[in-house]
């Protein structure tokens, strides 16, 4: 604790300020650091320790054994292959649509902009379930339909393959690039493009030589998000690959632990693989950074003018059709099939109205103990994780941005770390810390899942609060203190009310993914602590397709309601 005080005292900013601020600053800093050390740093340290140390001495034989195990090597290769395909194709699709909406005269822009974000909110593992219903090699509805037409036995497409996994991930990950590039195009100073036009460049020359190169940083950032997400993604390969022995590193980690039935040896092997997975992610980030090293420049300018839109002329409606077909294919079709199968009287019956019933929904909502528990647990976990993380994230952001303590870099690093740590890795770390080996045994309780969620969503909350806090000029709080308010009083009366919309948005941005969380919960759940994601997954793995689809529908409806609330809040904020 002494070092901590030194760190803070060393900060010039604080020396000038009155005593009150130093005390409050130290308190907030210490509290933030403590929470982040416990939730983020400790699990990761435990993983590294258990991988490389055995009975208090250095021993890396386990790690070497795990790396050179042929099954694991294959899993590494699959992971890289899938992430590579997803990143490249997802990026291209994202750029194409963001350009179409940002720079062409295609109609219905505003509605399309929101439609293209839907896949981003769609739980990928539910998407994978839907696509398996459609394109499983023998039983998939689309494949059966196709075989019926051709009369052959060859399926249209086998979703239980590397290509299938990549395809589903692309559908739900391309919005990362779409959102980044769209916002870059919106904020880009249009005169950068106009000055090229006036210099004699044609529209397509401008795209090639000016627009595209200037959006490279945004493209890179989006592509990196896709890459990290795909490398650490668990749900889709678990649903589509498990049954046909296609493993990626995250699913392989789960398999190792699952097979060992939760023994400590299994957990240790899992840790070793986790180190490997984090290593792959870090290398990927480094390569990406190297490739995109050139180009860190400002393209934003305050004066907003409408950019010149390219007239698509005769291509206008064909492109519009492409957009709508793409959305129908990636959003509507999976939604339809999940709802349709969720209402079937029994799996395997043809999708006809007379075979439909509301019975499954009534069953999962009112009669199935497992599903009811799961809904209750998820509600409790999502709301408490969202509230706690929202406040902690805001506190960390406040210390980093407003208090400007010297140790803020450590805080910032710790708070952004969880974003690039795969969920499955985090889960293993949490098990190592909280299963009684160190202090408390929280295994098989909801609390262990809650701790994991807090760590997992810390970055979201911190980023969201930072963005709002940066808008609040320092002088606003200073004016309040000059008027005689204490530091706490100014925080409560000035700063917090000003960033409230950002905090609420942060709350929902945590609540939504937490509601459907699968990866970490899957390793941490106990007999009575299943979450929605786990329930859907395990009912699905037990072969009860109809019930799992019905429960998935419930999850989708809850998420949709949350999204609508989020939209209303953000619209109100824009209105102000």
């Amino acid at each position: 604790m002494f070092n901590l005080v030194k760190i803070i005292k060393g900060s010039k900013e604080l020396k000038i300020m009155g005593n009150g601020k130093i005390d409050t600053g130290i308190m907030l800093f210490a509290l933030s650091l403590l929470i982040l050390l416990i939730t983020v740093a400790m699990p990761l340290l435990m993983i590294v320790y258990n991988t490389f140390f055995y009975k208090f001495s250095f021993d890396w034989s386990l790690f070497i054994k795990m790396v050179f195990n042929p099954d694991n090597l294959k899993a590494i290769l699959n992971t890289i292959k899938i992430a590579g395909i997803v990143t490249v194709i997802g990026t291209i699709i994202g750029i194409f649509f963001s350009w179409l909406i940002g720079r062409s005269d295609i109609p219905f822009k505003e509605s399309m902009k929101s439609l293209f974000v839907i896949p981003y909110m769609f739980p990928p593992f539910i998407g994978a379930m839907a696509w398996e219903l459609l394109l499983a090699p023998r039983a998939g509805y689309l494949n059966k339909f196709f075989m019926g037409i051709t009369g052959g036995t060859a399926p249209l497409f086998n979703i239980n393959s590397i290509a299938g996994i990549a395809f589903v991930e692309i559908c739900y990950y391309f919005p990362f690039v779409f959102l980044q590039v769209s916002s870059a195009l919106e904020r880009m100073d249009p005169t950068l493009e106009e000055s090229a036009r006036i210099a004699g460049a044609s529209q397509f020359y401008v795209i090639r030589k000016i627009t595209l190169p200037l959006t490279i940083p945004a493209i890179g950032a989006g592509a990196l998000l896709i890459l990290i997400s795909s490398l650490s993604h668990f749900g889709v390969p678990a649903i589509l690959g498990w049954s046909v022995n296609i493993f990626t590193l995250p699913t392989r980690i789960y398999e190792v632990i699952y097979k060992s039935a939760g023994s400590f040896e299994g957990i240790r092997q899992g840790s070793a693989l986790s180190v490997l997975l984090v290593g792959v992610v870090v290398i990927a980030i480094l390569i990406q950074k190297r490739v995109l090293r050139s180009g860190h420049f400002e393209i934003i300018h305050g004066k907003s003018m409408r950019p010149i839109l390219i007239k698509l002329r005769k291509f206008k409606y064909p492109f519009l059709t492409v957009c709508f077909l793409f959305l129908a294919f990636t959003v509507l079709l999976p939604l339809f099939i999940i709802f349709a199968v969720g209402s079937l009287k029994a799996y395997g019956l043809p999708l006809l109205f007379k075979n439909m019933t509301l019975g499954n929904f009534i069953y999962v909502l009112f009669h199935c103990k497992l599903a009811q528990d799961a809904m209750k647990n998820s509600m409790f976990l999502s709301i408490s994780a969202a509230i706690i993380t929202m406040f902690v994230g805001t506190m960390v952001a406040y210390v980093v941005i407003k208090v400007k303590a010297k140790g803020k870099l450590i805080l910032e690093a710790l708070a952004t770390l969880p974003y690039s740590i795969p969920g499955i890795v985090l889960a293993i770390g949490v098990i190592l810390v909280w299963s009684g080996k160190l202090v408390l045994n929280l295994y098989n309780t909801l609390w262990i899942i809650l701790i994991a969620y807090i760590a997992r969503y810390m970055t979201f909350s911190m980023k969201s609060a930072s963005a709002s806090l940066e808008q609040v000029h320092d002088s606003l709080e200073e004016a309040s203190r000059a008027s005689g308010a204490t530091h706490w009083g100014s925080l409560a009366d000035i700063t917090i009310p000003l960033i409230r919309p950002g905090m609420i948005a942060g709350f929902i941005l945590i609540f939504l993914p937490a509601m459907r969380e699968l990866t970490t919960s899957l390793l941490l759940y106990g007999p009575f602590t299943r979450t929605m994601g786990v329930a859907i997954y395990s009912i699905h793995e037990d072969g009860n397709t109809v019930e799992s689809s019905a429960l998935a529908c419930v999850a989708i409806i809850i998420i949709t309601i949350g999204l609508i609330v989020l939209r209303i809040i953000t619209r109100e904020r824009k209105g102000k």
Binding site: D189, A196, R197, I198, G295, F297, E298
Partner: protein
Amino acid sequence: MTSVMLKDVTKTFVTKTFGDVVAVDNVSLNINEGECFSFLGPSGCGKTTTLRLIAGFEDLTEGEIWLGSEPVSIKKKKYYLPPEKRNLGMVFQAFAVWPHINVFENVAFPLRILKMNKTDIAKKVREALKQTKLSGLERKFPNELSGGQQQRIALARSIVTQPKVLLLDEPLSNLDPKLRESMRFEIKDLQKKYNFTIVYVTHDQTEAMALSDRMLVMDMGFVQQIDTTTNIYHKPANKFVFSFIGLSNFISVEISDGKVYPVNCKGENIECEILKSFKDKSAVLASRPNEIDLVSKGGFRTNIKSRVFLGDYVDYRVDIGGQEIRIQTDTDRDFKVGDICGVKFNRLLWYPVEEEITEEEREKRKII
């Protein structure tokens, strides 16, 4: 020879909140070859839109635009030439220097489009950089340079192909005041050297005065006055132009029995010649603070309300029948606050009483 011609140009924007907004309303003007012509007006007055119509970034709703003897936009014939075919140079307020390529490539960009050979490109770029005092910075990237240097890159890029017409959209307003002044002279020098026509958009009247031969004063999309800089200063066409160019005092007056009284104040009268058209009517008298004198005897008797010493001159406020006016006079006449003095108007301009334009109406027009 005419270099830029606008004939009955109107531009209407369709907006969601306000419906159709007329940003440029029936503007006609001729800009001569080699002339430096400014568009002056408050923000949202339509000056930038007019410039963008000339550049071709917006297509006009009505009218025609000609560059030299070539039409570039004729609404009736549905003729519209895209900006890249208009052979213009243009400099923007936000510099618009491409951050991903170096200074040389920025300036060479228009030449590369013309598919010029390498040696010619290098020669022309070097010449343009020399003219804009950027020699030696070829390999630098824009973010390594200052704002003034970045704007010089933009200037070099716009003159490298030696276009006949240079469009400048508030090119100096992102620079600090000192730099702004020196850049004005540089632009003027460049114009003398290459003899291109300059169309210059600004909201800064000193800048417009310093640079231009003639100017167009705009407000709310309408032409307020097109004239030489001297005429615009000395004979403003209306109250708006008067108040926009330099400091101004307005005194509302009424005329009775051949005498001019401040409105609602039939005490003392203001001694001045009454313009024929205003006999027995209300009017607004306009006067610049430096065209009014304070005298100890005679004049409109009143007392000094405030006095601020500003070095070169003293700034007084006095009351003219309930209306405060500002007087700037040299330091010799040392009146103190409260002193009784006489106000003598050296020059007064007469304007009819107009309805004020509401802020709301102004905001509506500004949307674009």
